[in-house]
């Protein structure tokens, strides 16, 4: 795993942001030099994660995941602001500007995606309804929630060592540990007994993974 840039917020144990994050994020809204590439990588990662999180929030009727979506949406605004600044500073010629315009367009699209995710979680304000789960049930890749049993071999192992994704095709979107959440866990994130995982993948993959996490299966293959 490559070393992540200093400002990335993924894979880090964090308390579910409540009212506090709004102030913190905006006080941070000042210019800091970061490479355009790092900014765009994070924006692309958020744009993919945030949709899964938004659908999980409405499907599982979970306010905390919805809060994280709102948090990421604000973060995306800041990243989009930073990337515009960096792109303007980098342009020297007309050719530069043309190429950089393409980057800004992709960044803008990533931000639109996060806005769509923000709209999805607003549905929580009404009641979530069975009609939602019926729609989600039709997909090849579905979202699931599963708790890790203390008897599972997964306990105290790193996600990367378990090769969860390449063995089962299940992608771990978030981990809930007590009061804390880890969103988009990295390969060096350790799984602990009683963690709740939100995962995305096929039903077959989920069957294997849930047996393993419940301690009914000794190895993942």
């Amino acid at each position: 795993m490559k070393e992540k840039k200093h400002h990335s917020i993924f894979g880090i144990l964090q308390r579910a942001p409540k009212d506090k994050w709004k102030k913190e994020e905006f006080s941070e809204l000042e210019y800091e030099p970061v490479s355009v590439k790092d900014l765009l990588t994070e924006m692309k990662d958020i744009s993919e994660l945030i949709i899964d999180l938004a659908y999980s929030a409405v499907l599982f009727n979970n306010e905390e995941i919805a809060e994280e979506v709102k948090f990421l949406e604000v973060r995306m605004d800041k990243l989009n602001y930073d990337i515009r600044m960096m792109a303007m500073l980098a342009a020297r010629t007309k050719e530069d500007a043309e190429q950089l315009a393409g980057i800004l367009q992709v960044a803008e699209a990533a931000e639109s995606i996060s806005n769509a995710a923000g709209d999805i979680v607003k549905m929580l304000e009404g009641k979530t309804r069975p009609i939602l789960s019926r729609i989600f049930q039709k997909a090849d890749e579905k979202l699931f929630r599963v708790q890790v049993s203390s008897t599972s071999k997964a306990c105290n192992q790193r996600i990367g060592d378990l090769k969860v994704e390449s063995e089962t095709g299940m992608r771990i979107i978030a981990v809930r540990r007590g009061d804390y959440w880890i969103y988009n866990p990295r390969s060096d994130t350790t799984i602990t007994a009683d963690d709740w995982l939100i995962v995305r993948g096929t039903e077959e993959g989920y069957e294997d993974l849930s047996k393993f996490l419940k301690g009914k299966l000794k190895v993942l293959e």
């Binding site: 490559k2 993924f10 355009v36 590439k37 790092d38 765009l40 990588t41 692309k44 990662d45 744009s47 993919e48 949709i51 938004a54 043309e98 190429q99 950089l100 315009a101 393409g102 980057i103 367009q105 992709v106 803008e108 699209a109 990533a110 639109s112 995606i113 806005n115 769509a116 995710a117 709209d119 999805i120 607003k122 549905m123 009404g126 009641k127 309804r129 009609i131 939602l132 019926r134 729609i135 039709k138 997909a139 090849d140 890749e141 090769k163 994704e165 390449s166 063995e167 089962t168 095709g169 299940m170 992608r171 988009n184 990295r186 993948g201 096929t202 077959e204 993959g205 294997d208």
Partner: protein
């Protein structure tokens, strides 16, 4: 008329819009205009589906087949899917422009957690002649096939019934260690799934 037509339309919009994002990002990595054009076509399709859905939902409410709250849920989900589809089109638009892509675009997507990969299936490969459903590629290797090229024909969002033939080019999305496994399988370097 089918009982849950509105529901099926929303599902299709949701499913296609997610596929479009994957296709859009992979069109950037491979600087591939054909995939980018497909994103454009899918966007038109989603616009049509969205219009059908609006009419269908209203009809179903009028005929008391659908509750108002459920109808709103469907419309909001579809609207989000439509927004996501528009964003994917914006990304594809960058590829279709006559400006060389900035190298940072490729690099930043490559460095991401999820990789996109492209591989041609060799005739020695055990993938040949089998369907995606039989192979269970997604659950066994973690790689989800998002598009395939069969000769001059393209197939986007293949299903479990899609068969892989020698010479097919697979475009897939997944984790880094899954990428290696899929490439070895497709080239016939390993026979173990």
């Amino acid at each position: 008329m089918k009982k849950d037509k509105a529901e099926s339309l929303v599902f299709e919009i949701k499913d296609k819009s997610e596929l479009m994002i994957d296709l859009a990002y992979s069109s950037l990595i491979y600087d591939n205009r054909i995939i980018a054009e497909e994103v454009y076509d899918l966007e038109n399709l989603i616009d049509e589906l969205y219009q059908d859905l609006q009419r269908e939902t209203l009809e179903e409410v009028k005929n008391r087949k659908l509750l108002v709250d459920d109808a709103l849920t469907l419309m909001k989900l579809a609207q989000a899917g439509e927004q996501i589809a528009d964003a994917a089109q914006e990304i594809a638009d960058v590829v279709l422009r006559d400006v060389e892509l900035h190298p940072v675009l490729k690099d930043s997507i490559r460095e991401s957690d999820i990789v996109f990969t492209r591989v041609q299936v060799d005739e020695k490969s055990i993938l040949c002649g089998k369907t995606l459903g039989e192979l269970k590629l997604a659950s066994e290797t973690g790689m989800m096939v998002i598009a395939m090229r069969h000769g001059n024909r393209w197939l986007y969002g293949p299903t479990g019934k899609t068969r892989i033939d020698p010479g097919d080019v697979l475009f897939a999305r997944g984790p880094e260690d899954g990428e290696k496994h899929l490439i070895e399988l497709a080239r016939g370097e390993t026979r173990e799934i």
